[in-house]
């Protein structure tokens, strides 16, 4: 009881453990806690704080976790999505840790002499040396290339650790996908427990990615109370909750435990193909009849889209054979596309699909602003933005992929501390961790410490 009261008083622990539960929505977690179905997380919330947290734009894991770990907006850390393009050649590529331009939490802490353990945080591939252990994320092509220091590989092989589920199994059999998610989850939890208990660390961070995979393939089936998949969904949540409770018991009173997600989730009403729309409106033209990649768009095109909901204008001097003059012409076209996007409707229901079309400078500030999309379309929840180049219709409902990310509904739970200020943002996590550990918060961070 005494330690519990001390924690409520806001005493700063010297060590911090962050357990990420990718994509767990605050609204769902709070409801399950209230119903008594997540007793582990419920106890942590009662011993501290549970809050709804906002993510970043666009709210995909690569951008959100990088913003979390740097405390910075994307124009400072340079991560804007799972795919990016070279504007000079239109070659697309997958950004990795090499593209991140700000130090991550574990870099700052390593330099401060703190020992760290980092497991499965997007985007940590290729693994960079830290003062401790780093096991990279699902952007790793294989386990042997995911581990720092390399000498830890035999330990992970002994635990039969997996980088990720095989998501293609879901398209073959949802029943087999259930087994796949549970198998990878167990191995992830075993590795987390192993390093939590056996490694020396001041800062520990691990992300459970299997919740995100569960949501993508089972979210609407849970909402619709499917007789097999809804109980499975709840079983995975119970297992994660039980594991978090076990991790909490393993930590001493000097350690602050943070449980968080990077975005929320909801059911997909329709996937929305923005390049189809741009093509219909005459802003995008193709150089051939079967375009497959960005290099197949015609030079006369004015705009194109990349996942998720990012619109790039073909600005002269920036884009390969760009045709839109910077300045007034650029602004006029951007305004025209933004206004049209906000009027875009689901052809089946007439519902709006775009909540707001943001100009990049409305969301971002920093030295890499020029790498950001010109417009970022924030969808109405349920309308999943897609960047496929050539689709026969504006919308499509996929029978397998049934869950999409949401922006305003991430989860933040901090044991032993009351959170200060208004609704927290994911960029507040890094300065909060540094404050808890007594390490100076760099002035460049956009977030603010949530602990006084």
């Amino acid at each position: 009881m005494a330690s519990f009261l001390r924690r409520l008083g806001g005493r700063s622990g010297r060590r911090v453990a962050v357990i990420g539960v990718d994509g767990v929505p605050y609204s769902y977690a709070a409801g399950e806690i209230a119903a008594g179905r997540l007793p582990g997380l419920g106890r942590l919330a009662r011993e501290g704080s549970l809050a709804r947290m906002t993510s970043v734009y666009p709210w995909v894991s690569s951008v959100a976790w990088t913003s979390c770990a740097t405390g910075c907006n994307p124009a400072k850390h340079n991560m804007f999505g799972f795919v990016d393009r070279d504007p000079a050649t239109y070659r697309t590529f997958i950004p990795t840790a090499r593209d991140i331009r700000r130090p991550m939490l574990w870099d700052l802490l390593s330099r401060a002499g703190k020992q760290v353990v980092v497991i499965n945080v997007p985007v940590t591939y290729p693994p960079q040396p830290v003062n401790g252990v780093l096991i990279a994320d699902f952007l790793s092509p294989s386990l042997d290339k995911a581990v720092y220091p390399p000498s830890l590989l035999p330990t992970l092989e002994r635990l039969d650790y997996r980088v990720d589920v095989d998501p293609w199994i879901a398209y073959e059999s949802l029943d087999r996908m259930m087994s796949e998610i549970e198998m990878v989850l167990e191995r992830r939890l075993a590795a987390i427990e192993h390093f939590l208990k056996s490694a020396r660390w001041d800062f520990f961070m691990a992300v459970i990615m299997e919740t995100d995979r569960l949501h993508h393939f089972f979210w609407s089936r849970m909402e619709e109370r499917h007789p097999v998949y809804a109980p499975f969904f709840e079983r995975v949540y119970r297992r994660v909750d039980e594991a978090i409770a076990g991790f909490a018991r393993a930590l001493d009173d000097d350690t602050t435990l943070v449980v968080m997600s990077d975005h929320g989730f909801c059911s997909i009403e329709q996937e929305v193909f923005y390049n189809h729309w741009l093509h219909e409106r005459g802003w995008l033209k193709y150089a051939n009849s079967g375009p497959k990649e960005l290099r197949d768009i015609a030079d006369s095109s004015l705009a194109y889209s990349l996942d998720p909901g990012r619109i790039f204008i073909r600005v002269r001097g920036r884009e390969r054979n760009g045709v839109v003059a910077p300045g007034a012409e650029y602004e006029a076209l951007r305004d025209e596309i933004a206004a049209a996007a906000e009027e875009l409707r689901d052809p089946g229901t007439g519902a709006r699909v775009v909540r707001k079309a943001y100009r990049r400078e409305e969301l971002y500030a920093g030295p890499y602003l020029e790498s950001a999309a010109d417009l970022i379309l924030a969808p109405v929840d349920g309308y999943d933005p897609k960047g496929a180049l050539h689709k026969a219709s504006l919308t499509h409902k996929d029978p397998v992929m049934v869950g999409m990310h949401t922006h305003d509904d991430a989860t933040l739970c901090v044991r032993g501390h009351q959170l200060a200020g208004p609704t927290p943002s994911i960029v507040d996590v890094a300065p909060t961790v540094l404050r808890l550990m007594g390490v100076p918060v760099p002035a460049e961070m956009d977030g603010t410490a949530l602990i006084k």
């Binding site: 040396p129 092509p141 720092y148 293609w168 993508h216 496929a388």
Partner: protein
Amino acid sequence: MDQRAFTVSLTGTDGAGETTVFAQVAVDPSDPSSVEDGLAKLLAALDDLRRVSARTEALEPYSADEEEVIERRLRALGYVE
């Protein structure tokens, strides 16, 4: 017992830039076995530095096969088309 604990950082430079590895060493100068143990940890860190540097060269960018593996995974998750 006069144990002294250090965090040692070792930095090497290769074609991909600078790489630093870390080693935690605790040594009691009056205990030869702890000195030996400390030296072994430093040598292991040097080995890690060598392996990380070699791997760094090999990892950037993805090989064509590796990029296909990752793109395929991201496509199944709906993150790229």
